[in-house]
């Protein structure tokens, strides 16, 4: 079984000399879950972006290791699935086309066979799979983001505002996914929603910038 560990050592982030957060350290391994909380503008999304390699920290180090072997920074994207408001799908393609394009670019080959259909069914947008994404509602786009994030079976799932734009049924599907993820990999959620926070064992409150062991 793959044993994955995500280690964060004293990371800080500044934008134009304005400190967003500093000295955040924690380590997460298989079956760990972490909630990042804090008021608007506290840096929840910035920290989520840093964790998945979209932003580089001003100071500090992030390392990801699989079975105690460090994964190069350039390959982190293979192990992370991200659902976030700043992730956008290609509007001119259908939901199915988006997933197929992503599977091909990820070079998943036959590993992805059948997965796009299964994921579209799981997130309840299979009926609209051939419609262009520009015709989707914001909730449907959020569901498609989940399907895209789970396409490569990521060991680490990072969810920024996980249930934003979702109806009750959609939120229930996401909560089920979060429960499954805490049993097989690492789950990180950036939210202030009490219903989502139930799924995280550890917590970082960016207002206080606590660190967890």
């Amino acid at each position: 079984m793959k044993q994955i560990t995500l280690s964060i050592e004293s990371i800080s982030k500044e934008f134009n000399r304005r400190i967003i957060f500093e000295n955040i350290s924690f380590s997460l391994s298989q079956k760990d879950s972490l909630a990042i909380t804090g008021r608007n503008g506290s840096g929840k999304s910035t920290l989520a972006k840093i964790l998945c390699g979209l932003l580089t920290p001003t100071k500090g180090k992030i390392s990801l290791s699989m079975n105690e072997k460090e994964i190069p920074a350039a390959d982190i994207h293979r192990h992370i699935g991200l659902v976030s408001p700043y992730i956008t799908m290609y509007d001119e393609f259908s939901g199915m086309e988006n997933l197929l394009v992503f599977a091909h670019i990820r070079n998943l080959g036959s590993a992805a066979d059948g997965d796009p259909e299964r994921l579209l069914r799981q997130f309840g947008i299979y009926e609209r799979r051939n419609d262009e994404v520009r015709t989707y509602s914001s909730g449907m786009k959020q569901r498609l983001k989940y399907a895209a994030a789970m396409l490569h079976h990521p060991e680490i799932l990072i969810l920024d505002e996980p249930t934003a734009n979702l109806d009750e049924e959609g939120a229930a599907t996401v909560h089920k996914l979060m429960r499954v993820q805490t049993g097989v990999g690492i789950l990180i959620i950036a939210t202030n929603d009490a219903k989502d926070l139930k799924f995280a064992v550890h917590n970082i409150d960016l207002n206080k910038v606590n660190s967890v062991a």
Partner: protein, 263 residues
């Protein structure tokens, strides 16, 4: 107990040699070959699908195609009206052709990165693959876009401008192909840089001009040779410059792109 032999060797020795051959092929030479295959696959498979994605996206949205088409039609019409019945030398006409090609490229080639930035799909793409396949995929897309654009401009130019006669078609069309590759290599990395800027429209030609100046001078020279009916061998120097330019710019761009692509 007697055991049968094959060619004077025991079965054990026979299987031992098979094992050694297998070991040599698959475990000693194998991993190096597999590593190279994996490296090429992880570069070219995503790059190919990024190229396909961009091509399909362009055919549906016509972000770049419309801008390019409008620019070419407008520029050629103005040249046609301003020249009238004037007898202009082939030197000047070669220059004008590449001025049209340069500014047409400037009006459309940046779209490949700018559209990703404007639609907010950059983060999506960053999470899908490494930076190099993104650059290579965009470069291939820009090459085919530039090549088709240059072929169309050249054909229209040859049809509409009376004094522009090509004596050496081989030199002319080789210049068009190599020039397209050189323009695509330079414009792709500049597009990636300016996509992050606020003043994208004005910055693109301003940044591109000094970088493309040696390229423009070379293609103008080669086109002049084509109009004068020179032998193919006489243009080899120009072609060598174009190939070297493309190789140098592409190599430097691949190194630079990683820093441009991430925040």
């Amino acid at each position: 107990m007697h055991s049968s032999t094959r060619g004077g060797r025991s079965p054990l020795a026979h299987y031992d040699s098979i094992f050694k051959t297998y070991y040599h092929q698959n475990l000693e030479c194998g991993p190096a070959k597999l590593y190279l295959e994996d490296a090429l696959k992880s570069l070219f498979v995503p790059a190919y699908y990024i190229f396909l994605k961009d091509s399909r996206s362009e055919l549906r949205t016509r972000y770049a195609l419309n801008a390019l088409f409008m620019f070419v039609v407008t520029a050629l019409s103005i040249i046609l009206f301003s020249l009238g019945s004037e007898a202009v030398s082939s030197d000047v006409l070669s220059g004008i052709l590449w001025v049209v090609i340069f500014f047409s490229s400037m009006s459309g080639l940046s779209r490949t990165f700018v559209s990703e930035e404007e639609r907010g799909t950059v983060a999506t793409l960053q999470l899908l693959t490494r930076p190099t396949p993104v650059y290579v995929g965009k470069l291939i897309f820009n090459f085919f876009l530039t090549l088709s654009l240059n072929v169309v401009i050249s054909l229209l130019y040859l049809l509409l401008i009376n004094n522009f006669v090509i004596q050496s078609p081989a030199i002319f069309w080789t210049t068009i192909v190599l020039g397209s590759a050189a323009i695509a290599s330079a414009s792709t990395i500049i597009a990636a840089i300016i996509a992050k800027a606020n003043t994208k429209g004005t910055l693109y030609p301003v940044l591109s001009f000094p970088i493309m100046l040696p390229l423009l001078m070379t293609v103008m020279n080669a086109t002049r040779l084509a109009t004068e009916g020179a032998f193919f061998a006489e243009a080899l120097g120009e072609f060598q410059i174009l190939i070297s330019y493309t190789v140098v710019i592409t190599t430097a761009s691949i190194v630079l792109f990683e820093y441009v692509w991430k925040d």
